[in-house]
């Protein structure tokens, strides 16, 4: 399989995601999160937060709108029928709280080929509306050999 490497280094227009209280609760319930900071408004306020706190993996929710157009870009040329998620890394900064607006930029950082498989690595960088880094994601995708 010949991979296209022309798009390495390309960034896509940033997306902004408005974090909602009930979305945090929905995500917390779906992932089995039990931390009161993520579920109980009184507990979150008593701990000094303005609203519910997002669990770390909520990064998937605010990151995906930026990542999806990058992954679907024909210039990148991913064959979705053969796509598997190979690995994932997140590094977290300031906590995300309901009411925050998170702006994320996606960049294609590497494309390579090993053993007929294509490896596509995207990075997402997310900042809150005060300009603080909240999360950096490294998304490793594998397109299996045909």
């Amino acid at each position: 399989m010949a991979v296209k490497t022309e798009a390495v280094g390309k960034s896509w227009p940033p997306t902004t995601y408005a974090v909602g209280r009930e979305k945090i609760r929905e995500f917390a319930h779906a992932t089995g999160e039990t931390d009161p900071l993520c579920l109980d408004l009184d507990a979150a306020r008593a701990a000094g937060f303005d609203d519910l706190v997002a669990p770390p993996m909520f990064a998937v929710v605010y990151g995906m709108p930026a990542l999806a157009p990058a992954m679907f870009d024909p210039e990148v040329g991913i064959d979705f029928a053969r796509l598997v998620h190979g690995g994932q890394q997140f590094s977290w900064g300031e906590l995300v709280v309901a009411g925050d607006e998170i702006t994320t930029t996606a960049t294609l950082t590497d494309v390579s080929e090993r053993g007929g498989n294509g490896f596509y690595v995207f990075e997402t960088r997310s900042l809150n509306d005060r300009g603080a880094e909240v999360c950096t994601g490294v998304w490793s995708n594998v397109v299996r050999a045909a």
């Binding site: 779906a30 770390p56 995906m64 690995g87 890394q89 490294v138």
Partner: protein
């Protein structure tokens, strides 16, 4: 610090709820017939949901969402609903108040997340 083993058994409809919560509606996770048509045993778990279980094991031990600074995983197998997942975490070392934790997720005797590790803030009382 120690990070206790976490076990969780996703129910039959978990993938539907996680699809809604995360926005990932890939039919391999929510449509039994479609999943079989592409050669899978049936609906498979979202990798990022499994990663969220790794995260939860760390934040429970670390004392809240602020304690998890970094988490990296390699997806090496498919998870399925209605079978128990075990998240085993081993603290490798602690430096400057940060624990470096190695993580494995197993289901039905197979390691489906491997080469995973996390940086977790050590709670003051640990």
């Amino acid at each position: 610090m120690e990070v206790p083993t976490l076990t969780v058994t996703p129910d039959r409809y978990l993938t539907v709820r996680y699809a809604g919560a995360s926005g990932d509606f890939n039919p391999i996770h929510i449509d039994e017939e479609f999943a079989r048509s592409v050669g899978l045993p049936g609906k498979i778990l979202h990798g990022l949901w499994m990663m969220a279980q790794c995260a939860r094991a760390q934040t429970q031990a670390g004392g809240g969402p602020a304690s998890l600074k970094r988490l990296s995983v390699q997806f090496r197998g498919m998870g399925v609903p209605e079978a128990e997942l075990t998240v085993t975490s081993t603290v490798r070392d602690e430096t400057d108040g940060i624990a470096h934790v190695d993580i494995v997720v197993e289901q039905n005797g197979r390691a489906i997340i491997r080469n995973a590790d996390a940086d977790v803030v050590v709670p003051r009382d640990a």
